[in-house]
Symmetry: C2
DNA sequence: CCCGGATCTGACAACGTTGTCCAGGCTCTA
DNA sequence: TAGAGCCTGGACAACGTTGTCAGATCCGGG
């Protein structure tokens, strides 16, 4: 139909030129500069017939400029399309008004709200947010964090992938505000903001026990990850409190990719001592477990760590131990700026409480 | 129990000091500098007993330095904890090796993968990603974009909130690579990468019609938003193609917050000419509509624009018109770097195809 | 013994901004 | 009308890096 629009048959991608009224570039932007260069304050000053510093004053809204002069300068700015070069400004002033955020994976629904919360606080302090994903790789975390330090971010919010952060010591010493989030810093003292992973997991498992379960499975991440280890500890504590010996076949650690989670879940459901309930160590695990349970004939109870969207619409609704990602991010960012203020000096670890949200799946009775 | 750990009773936040072995700050970091200052190449040069430029050479891996000299310099670098100041470097070199991403809301599950994809491409080109959320506010979008330009990002990926981007003209002229995403640029010519919103919506609605529906509702965002307008246009086209006159009461525009979506949905379900199917204009709308439909006694068909997690686990599974957020982000970022290469000069609009994923809710027959 | 060339090193300017400081012109008062 | 004081504007250095260029050093060969 649309004969005039080229369509790539294989990919279905449609491309149309957008050149309706491409503004032709002027032969030369402004006097004395190479093509593509931007005007500087010097150019503006020349055009307005004033001194360099006067332009600086106008740009920064400093007092001591006649309205008439200001008008002339403003005119020159608009005419040339001048925009202050913040790199130079940073170099001169020493503060960049930007903070860095190193997280694990921006695409993970847990980090979206967290990142947004950090950004919101940064914005309130007039700072921009630079962020990068470590992909759970310690080397990449370090590379990123140091690159951010080279940019001279004022502060750093880090969701650690590694467990040794001594590489940050020179930075801390140099005054880079730093807050660790979700997992504590390794081998250095630093502020950190965590969820109460241990308590949350313990409560979640205790909830299952309270509903009559004794054979409860645990599927979680590698215990070298702090959150995973803490949640496992919570699971064990709850079982021990109830006097239930844990069988090895009930625990699956270091497993997060869907296929392996599926296999792990299936194994603990069909093993010699089959579980009647599963505690899922994080949202990715929970999702896969839901899929597996949906295929089962008998009803298996489930409590997941981390809330998931639409959990309440499933049949049954998914009971979860929820963390407040936004609150964590907000807390961390606020601490960071308090470090920069000087209001905060002693590194602390704060743990935010989790919340058990009962929706049905965690209240199912055991069915053998 | 934990009598030694202070717990705020109201918020449940637990705070413990992290000062186990706080490294005491040295009286003075390095000679001739204020406290808190970082060592510079000059300091390194002095300590290593070499010239400034030699340090620069070592830091940047330039040739022409004796192994012995290099060793001495490297030693001084490690001893002082030197880290190159990229602000100064940027000022000198003109390129920042960073790109900016202005999106609507990082917390929206659609933008997480998109952002991540952009970041991944940036990383492949050795660039960092600075991003900010416009919160759908045109002023904030402009403020952000210009702040990024002041930082002299090499390029800009923008998910527009406003519809007039002439404020970017000086930047484009100055050579800032720019790609608009998800919605086209307003009043300027620029590269843009979009989903085929019109075609996707048309297909989705046609799908409902093919299953026997004639009274089909549409709930979407304000038509001033390009995607919303296009999807509405797709809805109308499908209806017209089928010869079905659309009643005003079937359409609800400019409605995205849960309460109003709920009201809108309820109204079109109970009105004088009640719909038997609903087309939801975006993921937020879809989620709310699912909730409303779950409360209904009769089965109402649903097709949503944008995929949502767990959509396949609901009863019935949710049929959606899916966009590939990651592909969009990847495409946009790649175009951006091609602009920087010089490989790409003419602004184009590319439209990525959408995919109809049938899961059940869109295949329900009409029930009056 | 000296010279040419290759190799290594460092002095210096420049990037664009801001802080400091001083000059010149104005107003106000005695 | 002269002097004090204020207001405005500009010259200059500095921020930490890199590019340019020239000087220093070392080698072998004539």
């Amino acid at each position: 139909m649309d004969r005039r629009i080229p369509v790539d048959d294989r990919t279905g991608i449609r491309i149309v030129p957008e050149t309706i009224r491409r503004s032709d570039r002027p032969a030369d932007g402004h006097p004395g500069s190479r093509y593509g260069n931007r005007p500087t304050m010097k150019d503006v000053a020349a055009r307005a017939g004033v001194g360099l510093k006067t332009v600086s004053r106008v740009v920064n809204g400093e007092p001591g400029v006649t309205p008439e002069t200001e008008r002339r300068v403003q005119e020159a700015i608009d005419a040339l399309g001048f925009r202050r070069n913040d790199s130079a400004r940073v170099l001169r002033k020493g503060r960049t008004a930007s903070i860095g955020l190193v997280l694990e994976d921006l695409a993970d629904p847990f980090y979206g709200p967290l990142s947004r919360a950090v950004e919101e606080v940064a914005r309130a302090h007039g700072a921009l947010l630079i962020n990068g994903s470590s992909a759970e790789d310690p080397d990449r975390e370090q590379e990123l964090a140091l690159a951010l330090c080279a940019r001279r971010v004022d502060g750093l919010v880090i969701i650690p992938a590694g467990d040794d952060h001594r590489y940050l010591e020179p930075e801390l010493k140099a005054g880079v505000a730093t807050v660790f989030v979700d997992r504590p810093a390794g081998k250095i003292d630093a502020d950190c903001v965590l969820s109460d992973n241990y308590g949350g997991a313990r409560d979640g498992v205790a909830h299952l026990i309270a509903h009559g379960h004794r054979r409860i499975g645990f599927i979680g991440d590698m215990p070298r990850i702090h959150t995973a280890a803490e949640r496992l500890r919570g699971y064990r504590a709850a079982m021990e409190d109830a006097g239930i010996p844990v069988e090895d076949s009930w625990m699956s650690l270091g497993v997060t990719d869907p296929e392996r989670v599926r296999r792990a879940a299936e194994e603990m459901l069909t093993g010699p001592s089959p579980v009647t309930a599963i505690f899922a160590g994080n949202n990715r695990v929970t999702v896969t477990v839901i899929r597996v349970l949906a295929e089962q004939t008998r009803a298996v109870a489930l409590v997941g760590f981390d809330d998931i969207e639409l959990a309440d619409l499933l049949q049954p609704g998914v009971t979860v131990v929820a963390q407040d990602a936004a609150a964590i991010g907000r807390n961390a960012a606020e601490r960071l700026f308090r470090q920069l203020d000087g209001t905060l000096v002693t590194p602390e670890r704060i743990e935010l409480p989790t919340r058990l949200i009962t929706r049905g799946s965690g209240e199912l009775p055991p069915a053998d």
